[in-house]
C-alpha cells in the first residue's frame, strides 16, 4: 500500500488531553507543517480523492475530533492547499471550489449569533459537513477493507485442470478498437457504393437497435458483426448499429470476439 495522506490518524480521544486541542481559546499555535518539498507536494496533492478526502486529511493531521472542527482554521488551511494546487497547475476539480464555498458559508454562519428558537435554521451549520465527512470516511475504510480481502489475480488463483478439447469453443480474445473501426469502414464503403439507391431514410434509434441486437444474440450464439451492418440502411444505419454495439459492450451485456487478427468479428451475449 502506498503512503497516503491522512494515515497518521491518532485516536482523537487521546489528543483531547493536550491543550492545543480544546476548541477556541486554549489553542496556542497550529503546527507549521504545511511546508513539504515541492515535488513531494505534487504527489501528495494529486493523491487526494476530492475535497472530503483533503478535509479529512487536514482534520486528522491535527488530531481534531471530526465533531469539533474549528471551521475558520480548517477553512484557512484548506484554501492554502487549494491555492497550492492551483499554483502547481494540478487539475483542480470544481468540487474543491464548491467545498471552499461551503466552508466559507459555514464560517460566516457561525459568526452570526445563534438563534434561540429551535427552528431548522438553528442547526449547527457544521452538522451537514460532519455528516458528509463521516459518511465518506465509512466508505473510505470500506474500500480499504475491500482492497485487503483475498482476491483473484493477487491472492488466489483458480486451480483447475485444463481439459483438451479437440473442438474447442471459440477463444474470446479482445478485439482491438482498430479492428472494429476497420469493420465499420468496410461497411461504410459498401454503403457508399449503393448510395444512389437510398430512399427516404427512416429515423433510426440507437436504443431500438440495441434492443434488436440483444434480441438477435439472445440464444447465446455467436453472431457475425456484419449482420448488423445493413448497407441498405445507408451511412446513418451503419453508424446507429456501430454505436449500439459499442453501447452494449460498454454496458457489459455484449462481448466482441475475434479469433485471429483480421478474422471476422463476432458478437455474443455476455450472459452465460
Amino acid at each position: 500500500m502506498t503512503e497516503q495522506p491522512g494515515q497518521s490518524t491518532a485516536d482523537p480521544k487521546q489528543s483531547e488531553r493536550s491543550p492545543v486541542l480544546v476548541a477556541g481559546e486554549a489553542l496556542q499555535s497550529w503546527p507549521e507543517d504545511l511546508y513539504i518539498p515541492p515535488d513531494a507536494l505534487e504527489v501528495i496533492l494529486d493523491a487526494f480523492q476530492g475535497p472530503l478526502d483533503l478535509l479529512l486529511y487536514l482534520i486528522r493531521k491535527q488530531n481534531i475530533d471530526i465533531l469539533d472542527i474549528p471551521v475558520a482554521e480548517i477553512t484557512r488551511q484548506y484554501m492554502e492547499y487549494v491555492e497550492l494546487m492551483r499554483r502547481l497547475h494540478l487539475d483542480l476539480a470544481a468540487e474543491y471550489l464548491v467545498m471552499a464555498a461551503m466552508l466559507a458559508e459555514i464560517k460566516s454562519r457561525m459568526l452570526l449569533p445563534r438563534p434561540e428558537v429551535e427552528d431548522e435554521d438553528g442547526e449547527d451549520p457544521r452538522a451537514v459537513l460532519v455528516r458528509r465527512l463521516q459518511e465518506y470516511e465509512r466508505f473510505r475504510s470500506a474500500a480499504e477493507q475491500l482492497d485487503s480481502r483475498p482476491r483473484l489475480e493477487r491472492d488466489l488463483y483458480i486451480a483447475y485442470a485444463r481439459i483438451d478439447d479437440p473442438d474447442p469453443p471459440k477463444i474470446e480474445s479482445l478485439v482491438d478498437l482498430d479492428d472494429l473501426v476497420e469493420a465499420m469502414k468496410a461497411a461504410m464503403l459498401s454503403a457508399h457504393r449503393r448510395k444512389h439507391l437510398q430512399l427516404v431514410p427512416e429515423t433510426l434509434s440507437v436504443r431500438d437497435r440495441m434492443g434488436r441486437i440483444m434480441e438477435r444474440v439472445r440464444s447465446g450464439e455467436y453472431v457475425d458483426l456484419k449482420e448488423f451492418f445493413d448497407p441498405d440502411e445507408g451511412r446513418m444505419g451503419l453508424v446507429v448499429s456501430f454505436i449500439a454495439v459499442l453501447e452494449l459492450v460498454r454496458d457489459g451485456v455484449l462481448i466482441i470476439i475475434q479469433n485471429d487478427p483480421g478474422a471476422p468479428i463476432h458478437v455474443k451475449s455476455k450472459d452465460r
Binding site: Q49, D68, D124, R250
Partner: protein, 237 residues
C-alpha cells in the same frame, strides 16, 4: 446406479476441470437423471470434499452461486514468483466507487458522487463494467432517469465472497442524536427529554469530552449504534 464414491469422484473431477465455479444445479445436471444425487446428497458430498482438501495447497470453496477449487492465500507469493505474475492494482477512487456500489446498490453515479464529493470518472465506470463487477440494474424513476448500478456474481467471485452480505459491516456511524449532542445542537426529536440536550451552548469542547469518556448509562438513548449498523446491513440486503 452409481455408488456414492463414484458420484463424489465425478463431482470432484467436474469441479477440478472447470474454469468457472459450478453450481449445485450444474453439478446435478451432469448426471443422468436416474443417477443424479439429490441436492442434500450433493451438499454432503461437497462438504466432504471441502474437508478432504482442508490443509492442502488448494481448497474447495463456495463463492457466489458455485463451488471452485482455488489455491490457498498463503502460497500466492510463491505462485506469483513462479509465473512472474503481476497482480493488477486498483486506485483508491475505483475501490471507493466499487465499495459504495456494493454496499448501497442499486445506486446512480450521482449517489456515488454525493458520498465521495467528487465526480465519478468515466474511466472508473468503464473499468468496473468491463471487469464485469458492476452492471446496470435499471433506471431510477426520477427526471433524467439515471442508470442504477449494482454488483454482479463476477464481483463476488473475484473478491472471494459467497454473497454481498459477507462483506464486513460498514464502520459504525455515530448516530445523529449523538452528533447533535456533541455539537450541542437541538434536533427536532421530542422523544426523550434528557437535561443533556437543553443545556446552554457554552463550552462545546468540554461537553464532547465528557460524553465521550463517561459511560452513557444516565442518558436514555433510544437510538443506539446497533440501529445504524442494522440499517446498513439492511441496505446491503
Amino acid at each position: 446406479m452409481k455408488n456414492k464414491l463414484e458420484i463424489s469422484n465425478t463431482v470432484e473431477a467436474a469441479l477440478f476441470s472447470a474454469e468457472e465455479p459450478l453450481s449445485i444445479k450444474d453439478l446435478r445436471g451432469m448426471f443422468k437423471p436416474e443417477d443424479a444425487p439429490t441436492t442434500d446428497e450433493l451438499n454432503a458430498i461437497l462438504d466432504q470434499l471441502t474437508s478432504d482438501y482442508h490443509g492442502r495447497g488448494i481448497e474447495l470453496v463456495s463463492v457466489a452461486n458455485g463451488y471452485r477449487f482455488q489455491t490457498q492465500v498463503q502460497y500466492a507469493t510463491a505462485l506469483r514468483r513462479l509465473r512472474e505474475l503481476r497482480p493488477p492494482r486498483y486506485s483508491r477512487a475505483l475501490l471507493e466507487t466499487l465499495a459504495i456500489i456494493a454496499y448501497r446498490q442499486p445506486v446512480t453515479r450521482g449517489d456515488v458522487e454525493e458520498i465521495r464529493g467528487v465526480a465519478v470518472s468515466t474511466d472508473i465506470m468503464r473499468v468496473l463494467l468491463e471487469r464485469g463487477w458492476v452492471r446496470q440494474r435499471g433506471e431510477r424513476e426520477v427526471p433524467g432517469r439515471p442508470v442504477l448500478y449494482g454488483t454482479t456474481t463476477d464481483f463476488l467471485e473475484y473478491f472471494n465472497l459467497k454473497s454481498i452480505q459477507q462483506l464486513p459491516e460498514l464502520a459504525d456511524q455515530r448516530d445523529l442524536a449523538e452528533i447533535a449532542r456533541d455539537l450541542n445542537i437541538l434536533l427536532p426529536e421530542p422523544r426523550h427529554s434528557s437535561s443533556e440536550e437543553s443545556e446552554p451552548a457554552e463550552s462545546d469542547a468540554e461537553d464532547s469530552t465528557d460524553s465521550d469518556e463517561s459511560p452513557v448509562t444516565d442518558i436514555d438513548r433510544p437510538i443506539k449504534s446497533d440501529t445504524s449498523t442494522q440499517s446498513a446491513a439492511d441496505r446491503i440486503g
